[in-house]
Symmetry: C2
Subunit: 228 residues, 2 copies
DNA sequence: GCCAGCGGTGACAGTCATGTCAGCTCGTCA
DNA sequence: TGACGAGCTGACATGACTGTCACCGCTGGC
């Protein structure tokens, strides 16, 4: 997944090439190929800022990155940042929000293709790990680093928990799950488990083979860890 | 549990009464009763700073609290803060460290009293909730808010995971647990679950009765959620 | 070919947390 | 009783991040 600039545009993807910044007052609008329309150039700049934000926030977290740094990394001047976002929290929120939507979309879709609870749980675990593998920066933004506290962090976890909750309620209705488990607590537990395991694993995927992580995540949720 | 000032001293507990601060250059060393020895006064001040830090960090997190605020809340001057800690990160680390030790001590002790895996899991869940109920500030410091990233957060979760890992390895040895589950992944999963559920519940304990949370936490870990 | 304005520039002023330090008080000890 | 020093005080210097704004160049429309 790539963070996109508003109304879906082709992005610059990672590693923005620094173009030779203003000598005095002049400023080439774009390095190499020039943009066709002005609006397009604007979107490209926005996309660069989003991409740079994802990288830097992923590396160092919200508080250890400045708006000027993001601008520099994106190859634009400090003031340009504020042409696109009112401050770094807004940028952060935008990145987290897009990442969350995408992750949630994938999880829902994995869920939709599953015939029963067992399949759904396994499919979600796999989806989660795939996402983590392809989007380490975003995983760190969503799960491990400090969010802009309440605002974003709560929304991420609550959104995911809500989605788990719905699935589980359906499972209870289908009598696939014993009703004495409180699904609200369970939803929080599952989300917490996801967040921690994914952050742990994404930090260093050689820690455990993907299959083992999927297997363990699935078993914990379905069969527990006690044989009796 | 109360955060203590180094070598275990009786603390001021919460809510530090603001004493009338310096009019010009004067400064009464202590409101009301005076301390006997100088060293004792020093420890009391340190304890006040620790207590105030716990309250403020718990309320607002590391980044939204300044060292001057902590000093003010503790009823001392800004400079005094630096007589005790080199900066707020050190104070934060100290608080988190003490809280972690205490929580870990209780969990280990709950574990020690248990005859088998089932009892151990249940006892830990209860211990965790009790701790959360009595120490909401500390729970927020340990689990929900941003830690000083890598430094503290990782240590908290790793320490707890380590403790779970040992228990589970013992359980595998006693053949109380199927060996095809990767205990390292499981340990991370359990810790993530704890962190999330406890933070969620401590935020508003009326969300679910304590017993329901304990029950659900225990069942997930032992029996899973699938009846078949 | 001309010009309007979009998008970008970067120096700069404002704000705020930080950590310091000279000076003060009071308890302790000779 | 005198004075020494531990501990505290709070104004202040510092530095970092923030957000602004006057200005500029390019591009597209006429």
């Amino acid at each position: 997944m790539t963070v996109t600039a508003g109304t879906g545009t082709s992005p610059p993807s990672e590693s923005i090439e620094r173009r030779p910044l203003g000598d005095g007052r002049s400023s080439p609008v774009d390095a190499g190929r020039r943009r066709k329309s002005a609006g397009e150039a604007r979107l490209a700049t926005r996309a660069r800022l989003l991409a740079s934000g994802a990288v830097l926030f992923g590396e160092r977290g919200l508080h250890r990155v400045t708006s000027h740094e993001i601008a520099a990394h994106a190859g634009v001047a400090a003031g340009t940042f504020y042409n696109h976002f009112s401050d770094k929290h807004e940028l952060f929120g935008e990145i987290a929000s897009q990442a969350l939507s995408e992750l949630n979309r994938r999880l829902e879709s994995a869920n939709a293709g599953a015939a029963n609870l067992r399949e759904a749980v396994r499919a979600r675990s796999e989806t989660l790990l795939d996402f983590a593998q392809d989007n380490r920066d975003l995983i760190r933004i969503l799960f491990s680093r400090e969010m802009d506290t309440a605002a974003v962090q709560a929304r991420v976890l609550e959104t995911l928990a809500q989605s788990v909750l719905e699935e589980r309620r359906a499972a209870i209705a289908r009598e696939e799950m014993p009703p004495e488990i409180d699904p609200r607590v369970l939803a929080q537990a599952v989300v917490g488990m996801w967040a921690r395991v994914v952050a742990w694993w994404a930090e260093d995927p050689t820690r455990a083979p993907r299959a083992a992580v999927v297997e363990t995540l699935t078993r914990i949720q379905l069969d527990g860890t006690h044989p009796a």
